[in-house]
């Protein structure tokens, strides 16, 4: 396990580490922020982050420095930073640990980001269920304020940086950045259509950066040790740094593991995770949270970085790896996820709203052994009509379990349908006029 050097989880894995400001400072905490406050130009910080190759850890993997550079520099009036701590992707639980166990690491990253983009106010939009995280962050903010890292005139720079924790009310879609902003504004959590992008029209229509917790936690380290150091870790040039992966499912040692990008799934599952729980063979795994298409044992040697996974037909996503052993019904697995997506579809746009209900009902029917062979093409047709036609990326996410399980395990669907057809034979269909 000591094979890879940890960055983000390093502090908290020290025995007795509580995450207090004092302890964080003892490990070199807030040094990066001090350095920045000593007069680093925002453009230099952005350049450093760009050079480090850091990409967003929330799911989409957008280069962080580039995102920051979109914020208009001379914009009069407020700009905002929002830390996306909604962590609602099933199978993902890394941000929770970062916030609960080492909150100042996140706060320092946020403070530096605020300094860089010129934001005086930042919000942490935290998943409603993370009550402990919210409490810990609140305490940490109070500590940091007292120590002069936050509040007015931070570290004598004359700048004001205030961070507020805002608890969500339990909607998956509020992890989508524009829905998050809507929710933060007190509105219904629904995605906005883009453009305009949050960089120019974000929170309260003001320039806004939305970054994931893990992304922000990386910032102090990059500034401390330099872009070159970070860019050398992992799978450069496109997958730099480490990544916290959340292992769950039929695995011996579920949990969060920080490894450099580019480690293979085989190593992750069999070495780091200790292999399959019941030593049955691996049947399938989801590589990056519920929105990422399923992969098969054939893909075990795929490297865990953005590009390799994209080539394998899936995505690195949020870093949640769910492992399934031989004997798991893939129709059931797809249905389980589809039920989740149906429940969470916000209802804003037609294909996602109506499509998720249609897909889930059809899958439930197949799974009840009441399906028909024609349902399979219908499912794929529906998926095709949802993908790329929705306001946000939820559309792509919700079809991925069906499309990917159908790609790899279509026979399991057919098996259930054959059973259905045997039990309830197809009657003579009434011919449609055009077919006579």
């Amino acid at each position: 396990m000591a094979k890879y050097e940890k960055i983000l989880l390093k502090n908290m894995e020290q025995p007795g580490y509580t995450g207090s400001l004092k302890e964080y400072e003892q490990t070199g905490g807030y040094q990066a922020f001090r350095k920045v406050c000593e007069g680093m130009a925002p453009s230099d910080i952005i350049e450093t982050v760009k050079l480090s190759g850091l990409r967003g850890r929330g799911g989409a993997g957008f280069p962080t420095g580039v995102k920051w550079s979109f914020i208009p520099k001379d914009h009069p009036g407020p700009k905002y930073l929002c830390c996306n701590a909604d962590e609602s992707e099933p199978g993902t639980f890394k941000d929770r640990q970062l916030m609960e166990r080492d909150p100042h690491q996140v706060l320092e990253g946020m403070a530096i980001t605020c300094y860089t983009i010129g934001a005086e106010t930042a919000y942490i939009y935290i998943r409603g269920e993370f009550w402990l995280g919210a409490k810990v962050l609140d305490q940490a903010i109070a500590e940091a304020k007292k120590a002069g890292y936050l509040g007015s005139n931070v570290l004598g720079t004359g700048k004001t940086i205030n961070i507020f924790v805002h608890r969500g009310a339990g909607a998956y879609i509020c992890g989508e950045e524009t829905a998050l902003l809507e929710s933060l504004e007190g509105k219904r959590g629904k995605p906005r259509f883009k453009p305009p992008f949050p960089a120019t029209h974000g929170l309260y229509q003001k320039p806004t950066v939305v970054n994931n917790v893990e992304t922000l936690a990386n910032i102090p380290h990059i500034l401390n040790k330099g872009a070159a150091w970070f860019a050398a870790i992992g799978a450069p040039p496109k997958g730099t740094g480490t990544r916290i992966f959340c292992l769950s499912g039929h695995i011996k040692r579920p949990g969060n593991y920080e490894v450099p990008m580019g480690v293979t799934f085989r190593e992750m599952i069999y070495e780091i995770g200790g292999g399959m729980r019941s030593d049955k063979p691996l049947k399938a795994f989801i590589p990056g949270g519920a929105s990422a298409p399923f992969l098969t044992p054939e893909h075990l040697d795929v490297k865990m970085d953005f590009e390799s996974l994209a080539m394998a037909g899936s995505m690195l996503g949020s870093g949640g790896i769910t492992v399934m052993e031989e004997g798991t019904s893939m129709v059931w697995a797809a249905l389980r996820l589809m039920e989740f997506f149906y429940h969470e579809s916000c209802g804003k746009c037609t294909p996602c709203r109506e499509g998720s209900s249609w897909l889930v009902q059809t899958l439930q029917r197949i799974s009840r052994r009441e399906g028909r062979m024609s349902d399979l093409d219908l499912l794929l047709d529906l998926c095709k009509s949802i993908e790329g036609r929705t306001v946000c990326a939820f559309g792509e996410a919700e079809v991925s379990p069906i499309v990917s399980t159908m790609r790899h395990w279509r026979s399991e669907y057919e098996e259930l349908i054959r059973e259905a057809e045997a039990a309830h034979p197809v009657k003579q269909e009434i011919p449609v006029l055009s077919q006579i």
Binding site: A171, R188, F193, Y342, H343, E344, S345, C346, G347, K348, C349, T350, P351, R353, E354, G355, S356, S357, W358, Q361, T362, R365, L378, D381, S385, G388, R389, T390, V391, V432, S434
Partner: protein
């Protein structure tokens, strides 16, 4: 976001047609201009794009995936394809999705036949759906007395929610629930409580939100459409009557038509039933042995002609007076005044414009020499600063209020509100919430607020430099007046410090285009004429009177108040707004009419009532007006009417006044006749006959014309068009239908005259603070409710279902102090009497103020004293000071 920037054009190709459109145009709009109809549900030109229905997807070259044309702006060289197979397939799939849960209950859906979903389904999904699962079914829920929802039909385009928020600024609706279980709901656990503008019904592309007033009564193709003009307030909204079997079924409005541009208010949308109420008078009646009995037209006309002729020969023409409602058409008004002046031969005539609108007109005439606004509705939209004084705009002139909302919300205008309103969030919109500078006042202190603004202008040296050079005496005179009034006195009356007046005055002065809206709170209140003149002074002092895009706009409460003035249906004005004492005007009119004009003195409403009381005025012809209902008992109206020897009424209903008549002619409503109304901005618009006259009722002009024939002084016209022609010949510019005429420019000679000496005679009376109420008393104000207009609307079943009675509104803090709760009985008392009523709490009205809607309980009128304006003869009776106690 939907405004189009017109800086530069771009070339765009849509379905192989190339054209130039303004940069920033949305693809869907550009397509429409090119004749390509892109199907859509959620897009609406009035609303910011939401791109939720995904029906308008198109293929755009160089863009990945299909794009929503409702949210994409055209760029130079853009190539759009809207009829390629991928696009068609996408549309079909969106429809498949929508139809999955749509109930297909078209046979019982009121939208059937004019439903976007039906039309698009017909076009794109010829075959059936592949959906074999269970449809989602919502339980039917009661929504409101006038609006019906059927959420199973909803396509979740959220147009209703967005309209309610973006256009109306009401926010009564919201989506509740998630995914397919989303429903449009009102807030709270009670039924919908909002402005009931009907906008959600009209903007719904399917049958999810419909009107309960016409539920199951029609199929769209059975309806006969008639374009007409609304008969409630002076905003002059264009609307369409939909009639079936000589009955009014519903009212619509159309995007792009009229100043209202598709919007209506509750009165316009749900108030049409007043026209066809079952109590309508349907045949002439004469009084026989104290009872009113129905008689044929010939008999009733003969009785009136004979009686009027007799009175005229015995007591002279000035023994007969006439009064007409401003709800009548211009043609009715014109013929009425001609009848009075020519057939009767008297100047004893007036209209209901006297109740307040005349104050605005006289002020305009005095200072700028016009009898119309010198600005237009469009100037409201492009104003940089808007000052409203005593308007209660959202309730009295809801469509004007929409323009103000748009100016503020979309165009960033600064809004100064001097209103008897608190900025409280409520079930109806509140203009005070949008204002940048809000000056809440008691309704009897608008004069103090106005003087505060003027004092700030003088004190802060905001006076226009050019004016300083030309009109030093005028400025000095006003300075002398305002200097004599201390900020302490103003603060004591308004509760506002000098600062807010100074800030407001600066905002107003700084604005390139500044507009003043003057409402009933000023025009109908004590000293209304003086206050309006003072506000004109504000325009003059800040150098805005003669500037394009600036002006003062008195808002008319009744639909044709402005028409009454322009048609000369008031004592002191001849047609065309000309002074009746001007020899020149008299001569030109005499030449046109071929007869001489009466030489007797003028007689306004209050003059006539005084003369009636003294037995000098013997007979009155009252057309559509109900002075007993309008004036408080203190005016002695009952006595005056009771002393008349002979009273003729032309009426729709047996009103309190008509009950006293000796002869009643049944008139028909504006839905049953042709003609024109002139809106508050001076735009003459067509009124068209939607249904045949009920029973034997006739248009007012026909009745007057018939009477003139019987009185041997025939004013005969073939049709209403012939009257229109005479009017047009006499007054160029009148009855030009179509786009509204350019507003008149202020007459510089009049202005010069005003600056030299015209301002002097009234100066001392109008630059004077009103008295203060005793601390333990309340200011009781009667005024207009958003759901009603006069007494007429109380016959509309839709509006009565929304608001059926008047209750007294009181601020919760006052109520708490008096130990009152919502629904408690209260006793109001002053020197004029004691009245019991019910109280309701509203944080919309200021502390120390009580509000009662003027449409209902007549009893409360007993508390109001009447005073008459020396200059304009307007009777004031809207405010009283009362003591309040809990009723035992």
């Amino acid at each position: 976001m939907s405004e189009h920037t017109t800086t530069g054009m771009v070339t765009v190709t849509i379905d192989d047609v190339t054209a130039s459109v303004p940069k920033g145009t949305l693809v869907i709009e550009a397509a429409r201009q090119l004749g390509v109809m892109i199907p859509h549900f959620c897009y609406h030109p009035k609303l910011a794009p939401d791109a939720n229905c995904r029906m308008c997807l198109v293929e755009i070259e160089k863009m990945p995936r299909l794009q929503t044309s409702c949210s994409t702006q055209v760029t130079e060289g853009m190539v759009v394809r809207s009829s390629v197979p991928t696009v068609k397939q996408a549309r079909k799939s969106v429809l498949d999705f929508i139809l999955a849960n749509h109930p297909l209950d078209c046979p019982v859906c009121d939208q059937g036949g004019r439903c976007d979903l039906q039309d698009f389904s017909h076009e794109y999904t010829a075959s059936g759906t592949k959906f074999v699962e269970l449809k989602r079914v919502f339980q039917k829920e009661y929504f409101s007395p006038v609006i019906e929802t059927q959420m199973n039909r909803c396509v979740q385009c959220l147009r209703c929610v967005r309209y309610c928020d973006e256009v109306m600024d009401v926010r009564a609706l919201a989506p509740a629930g998630r995914g397919t279980l989303t429903k449009i709901k009102s807030f709270g656990v009670h039924e919908l409580d909002c402005e009931f503008c009907g906008g959600c019904v009209q903007i719904c592309p399917v049958g999810a939100i419909t009107s309960r007033l016409s539920m199951y009564e029609f199929r769209p193709w059975m309806l006969k459409r008639t374009e007409s003009t609304c008969g409630y307030c002076g905003d002059g909204c264009q609307m369409t009557f939909q009639a079936k079997d000589n009955d009014l079924i519903e009212v619509n409005s159309t995007l792009g038509v009229g100043r209202n541009n598709g919007d209506l208010c509750s009165r316009g949308y749900f108030g049409y039933h007043a026209n066809v109420h079952e109590d309508r008078l349907q045949s002439p009646m004469i009084r026989c042995d104290g009872e009113l009995v129905e008689v044929p037209w010939e008999e009733a006309l003969a009785v009136v002609a004979e009686k009027l002729t007799a009175i005229k020969s015995a007591n002279g023409a000035d023994a007969i007076g006439g009064l007409i409602a401003s709800r009548c058409t211009n043609e009715d008004l014109y013929l009425f005044q001609k009848f009075m002046r020519v057939v009767i031969g008297t100047n004893q005539l007036d209209s209901s414009a006297r109740y307040g609108h005349m104050n605005g007109i006289h002020a305009l005439q005095r200072v700028q020499g016009t009898h119309r606004w010198s600005m237009s509705f469009d100037d409201l939209l492009s104003a940089n600063a808007i000052l409203t004084v005593g308007t209660n705009l959202t309730e009295t002139n809801p469509i004007t209020a929409l323009k103000v909302k748009e100016a503020v919300k979309r165009r960033g205008a600064e809004l100064i509100t001097v209103e008897a309103l608190e900025p409280a969030i409520g079930t109806i919109s509140n203009i005070a919430l949008l204002s940048t500078h809000h000056l809440p006042l008691a309704p009897d202190q608008f004069a103090s607020g106005t003087i505060g603004l003027l004092k700030a202008v003088i004190q802060e040296n905001l006076v226009d430099a050019e004016l300083v050079a030309h009109a030093k005496d005028y400025i000095d005179a006003i300075k002398k007046q305002v200097d004599a009034i201390s900020w302490t006195d103003i603060e004591a009356r308004t509760g506002l410090t000098a600062e807010i007046f100074q800030d407001s005055a600066k905002v107003f002065t700084r604005a390139e285009r500044a507009v003043i809206l003057v409402g009933q709170g000023v025009l109908r209140s004590q000293g209304g004429y003086g206050m309006t003149l003072n506000l004109m002074d504000l325009l003059v002092l800040t150098g805005k009177l003669n500037r394009i895009g600036c002006g003062l706009a008195p808002l008319a409460e009744e639909n044709n108040d402005q028409g009454s003035v322009e048609m000369g249906a008031v004592s002191e004005l001849l047609p065309g707004g000309k002074d009746c004492r001007s020899r020149e005007a008299q001569q030109s009119l005499e030449a046109a009419w071929g007869c001489s004009l009466p030489s007797g003195e003028e007689g306004t409403l209050m003059d006539m009532l005084g003369k009636a009381k003294r037995g000098i005025l013997k007979a009155m012809i009252i057309v559509g007006e109900n002075p007993i209902g309008s004036l408080p008992p203190d005016s002695g109206i009952e006595d005056a009417i009771g002393k008349l020897e002979f009273l003729v009424c032309q009426e729709l209903f047996l009103t309190d006044t008509a009950k006293r008549a000796d002869v009643i002619f049944p008139a028909c409503s504006y839905a049953e006749k042709d003609g024109t109304f002139t809106s508050t901005e001076g735009h003459t618009q067509a009124v068209r006959k939607a249904i045949e006259p009920l029973g034997e009722s006739r248009p007012d002009w026909e009745i007057l014309s018939a009477l003139s024939v019987m009185m041997d002084h025939p004013l005969e016209y073939e049709s209403v068009k012939a009257i229109g022609k005479e009017m047009r010949d006499l007054m160029p510019g009148t009855r030009t239908l179509g786009p509204s005429p350019l507003p008149p420019r202020p007459c510089l000679d009049t202005l010069t005259q005003y600056l030299q000496e015209g301002y002097q005679d009234t100066l001392a009376t109008r630059y004077c603070l009103p008295g203060m109420k005793a601390t333990h008393t309340f200011v009781l104000n009667v005024g207009q409710s958003i759901f009603h207009s006069g007494k007429f609307s109380t016959r509309a079943k839709g509006l009565i279902q929304i608001q059926s009675q008047g209750v007294l509104s009181m601020h919760p803090e006052d109520a708490e102090r008096l130990g009152l709760a919502c629904g408690d009985g209260v006793c109001l008392e002053n020197q004029l009497g004691q009245v019991k009523t019910t109280v309701k709490l509203s944080d919309r009205i200021p502390c120390g103020v009580l509000f009662f809607p003027e449409h209902f309980d007549q009893d409360i009128q007993r508390l109001f004293a009447v005073s008459v304006d020396n200059d304009t003869h307007v009777p004031y009776f809207k405010c009283a000071h009362v003591e309040v106690s809990k009723a035992s």
